[in-house]
């Protein structure tokens, strides 16, 4: 049998001269390694705000709903696409929407990719999600995607609102990411770091937000 391209490439690499593997120095230090408690949340808030993210802090679920309503009025939201993830599910946003005359859609309302795409691209004024993590070191949200967390909710609408319990705010990536990649076969199909709104500087270096994804990112910290 003819040798496959794969085998040919690997054979060439294996036949090449070997060099010793350089010894590993200790892992580089980060300022965030020593951050704990409230300082982590402060750092996250400050870092995300530097990326033009907006951060609110509320005490409990009731206040989340109140804050969401404030945002909905301010941003004139008529229709929103909402994830079913474990942060948002207990908030029962469908009922919240009915009470406040805001149409709340979830990806599960749609039978297939195309109908969901039509709604999330063309109808949703905002996407609301939970988040698995928030990382202080770069002001980033971390979202793992699964049936209750569709990818386009945090991407296609012009506004992304994320609700994050404060115990999910971590100082640096290594405190969270290993949990995502703990068990082989159970990795999320995609994990994404979201750091502020979508942006570009590709025309004459002029920076602006909302290139393809959201123009605004609002994070509501709970607790």
């Amino acid at each position: 049998m003819e040798r496959s391209v794969r085998d040919e490439i690997l054979a060439r690499l294996k036949a090449a001269p070997k060099v010793p593997i350089p010894p590993r120095p200790p892992k580089p230090k980060l300022h965030e390694h020593s951050l704990t408690g409230e300082a982590v949340i402060e750092k996250f808030t400050k870092t995300l705000m530097e990326e033009t993210g907006i951060v609110h802090r509320v005490g409990n679920r009731e206040e989340v709903l109140k804050k969401l309503l404030e945002i909905a009025y301010e941003e004139r939201l008529k229709k929103v696409m909402v994830s079913d993830d474990e942060v948002l599910a207990p908030l029962n946003l469908k009922a919240w929407g009915e009470r406040n005359d805001i149409q709340v859609m979830t990806p599960k309302d749609f039978p297939d990719r195309n109908s969901f795409r039509d709604a999330v691209f063309d109808q949703a004024d905002a996407g609301i999600t939970g988040a698995d993590f928030a990382f202080a070191e770069s002001g980033s949200l971390g979202l793992a995607f699964h049936p209750d967390q569709a990818r386009l909710v945090s991407l296609a609408p012009i506004l992304h609102i994320a609700v994050v319990p404060v115990d999910r705010v971590l100082a640096y990536y290594e405190q969270g990411i290993p949990k995502i990649f703990q068990e082989k076969g159970k990795y999320p199909s995609q994990f994404v770091f979201i750091t502020g709104p979508s942006m570009t500087g590709d025309i004459e270096g002029v920076l602006f937000k909302g290139m393809h994804g959201p123009r605004k990112v609002i994070v509501i910290l709970v607790g």
Binding site: S4, V5, R6, E8, I9, L10, R12, L13, K14, A16, V19, I21, P22, P23, P25, K27, P28, K29, L30, H31, P107, K108, R117, S138, G139, F145, H146, P147, A150, R151, L152, L155, A156, E174, I177, P178, F181, K184, Y187, P188, S189, Q190, F191, V192, F193, I194, T195, G196, S198, M199, T200, G201, D202, I203, G205, F208, G210, M211, H212, G213
Partner: protein, 478 residues
């Protein structure tokens, strides 16, 4: 992609006269270098952080075949399909077939430098498949049919008036504007429609993680996330050197890449794929196809010194700081990669004979080396290529040097090794050299050395050499 590396000098002088390129180069590279320097200050110990990146990439290269096998095994276990191709031609054929089999009318594309190398867009077009570059800069470069000026901002030098014209002609823009934000918004609307109905998305890969079989993309616009979320099929193309051993290594490389590249702690979106979407997910690809491209890398890998070039993570810190790139911009380098990284990579990918001026157009100042997060010794590589070229190494496609030059340097080597001969030679050459001197400086010279004097001056040879004077001194004293 049309390779123009042999036209380096013509292109450099052409673009040095371009007002828009000049306007950008006067400020842009300095701003970008400054942002990078500021971002690195967030590390408690910058050299330590940079050096750790070099160690990760050096280890990845030392263990390359083993890591690729591990990556393939884990990516396959995650449900991805892994294909291998030898070169750009095979890559383009493979992708054309994948698209034709699925019957997609068009594809959306995230930035991928290896498909830039292979000229994928041209081949897709030839086969009647529309392809839309979706990174704003790449989109503009594609419409204008230009190579990337800068690896991170491919069209950053293009004036907004020109962007307006091309958007009016080809991107459905109705009213002309020179507001960059409005232009960006026009591109958003045009490409959003493409994302919405896309059936196939093509992306590159910034980092591949052997330990988990995960591929990682780094971006700011969201175009790659759309390309990996909306369509049913995702094709991600990686040249085989992208792999790192572990997820922790990948996290450190991301910290380094974003800081060195755009001066961000992390770019707006970093997305990590481990297989296609799972049952019950409404978006994300049903199939994830990862194409691993050799594209000349296994050949580069055979030479232990050249192998160092494969550490490159395409951050472009070396472009922004390079006095040559800051003067001529990116087009002169004639291929996908410009600046010092291009001067290191292009000769290995295309052959020393095709890139003669690239590794010579350098001051050897080492600014590139000083900012490199993976420890590439660019000036050392340039000198290495020159020596390989002069030796006539066929493995490097060396180009024989002109016979005159060869004879001159043979004579030169003979002379400098024998002081009596050298001293005699200087004495004899003095009248000939000084013939062209004006006020004690030789500014030009006719004949075979005229080229050398185009950008350099030589002090006239003194009436007496130092040795002569020293002898006289001793005599006078004695």
């Amino acid at each position: 992609m049309e390779i123009k590396t042999r036209q380096f000098k013509e292109l450099a002088s052409q673009w040095m006269k371009d007002p828009a390129a000049r306007a950008f180069l006067r400020r842009g590279p300095y701003i970008m270098s400054g942002k990078r320097d500021n971002a690195l200050l967030t590390f408690p110990d910058i050299p330590e952080a940079q050096a750790y990146g070099a160690v990760i990439r050096a280890e990845a290269m030392a263990r390359l075949p083993e890591l690729l096998e591990q990556f393939e095994k884990n990516a396959t276990a995650n449900g991805a399909k892994v294909l291998w191709v030898r070169d750009g031609r095979e890559l383009n054929e493979t992708i054309v077939k994948l698209i034709q089999k699925r019957g997609a009318p068009y594809v959306t594309k995230g930035k991928s430098m290896v498909t830039e190398e292979s000229g994928l867009n041209e081949d897709l077009e030839k086969n009647g498949i529309e392809s839309f570059e979706t990174d704003l800069g790449e989109f503009i470069a594609q419409l204008l049919k230009r190579p990337p000026f800068h690896i991170v901002g491919p069209a950053i030098n293009v004036p907004k008036e020109e962007v307006c014209d091309i958007f009016m002609a080809k991107a459905g823009m109705k009213e002309c504007t020179t507001d960059p934000v409005a232009l960006g918004y026009a591109a958003r609307l045009f490409l959003r429609e493409k994302f919405h109905h896309a059936q196939i998305g093509i992306t590159g890969v910034n980092v591949a993680v052997a330990e988990t079989g995960t591929i990682i993309n780094v971006e700011n616009e969201g175009n790659i996330r759309f390309t990996k979320s909306s369509p049913k099929t995702q094709i991600s193309v990686m040249s085989l050197e992208k792999v790192v051993p572990t997820m922790e290594d990948a996290l450190h490389m991301l910290r380094l890449l974003c800081r060195n590249c755009t001066g961000q702690k992390l770019s707006a979106y970093v997305s990590m794929d481990s297989g296609p979407k799972k049952a019950g997910e409404i978006d994300g690809p049903e199939e994830l196809i990862i194409v691993i491209v050799d594209g000349g890398r296994t050949k580069i890998y055979q030479d232990v010194k050249s192998r160092e070039a494969l550490r490159c993570i395409r951050c472009a810190a070396c472009l922004n700081i390079c006095p040559v790139w800051r003067t001529i911009g990116g087009y002169a380098y004639g291929f996908a990669y410009s600046g010092p990284m291009g001067q290191v990579l292009n000769p290995l990918l295309l052959g020393l004979d095709q890139t003669q001026d690239l590794y010579r157009a350098t001051t050897l100042c080492g600014a590139c080396k000083s900012v490199c997060p993976v420890g590439i010794d660019h000036p050392g590589m340039f000198l290495y290529y020159r020596s390989k070229d002069v030796e006539g190494d066929p493995e490097f496609q060396a180009q024989p040097r002109p016979a005159m030059e060869k004879r001159f340097f043979q004579g030169f080597a003979f002379a400098v090794n024998r002081s009596w001969f050298w001293n005699l030679g200087v004495k004899m050459a003095r009248p000939f050299l000084n013939r062209d001197a004006e006020n004690g400086i030789i500014r030009r010279m006719k004949g075979p050395f005229s080229g050398w004097f185009q950008s350099r001056d030589l002090p006239a040879v003194a009436k007496k050499t130092f040795h002569d004077r020293w002898k006289d001194e001793l005599k006078n004293k004695g």
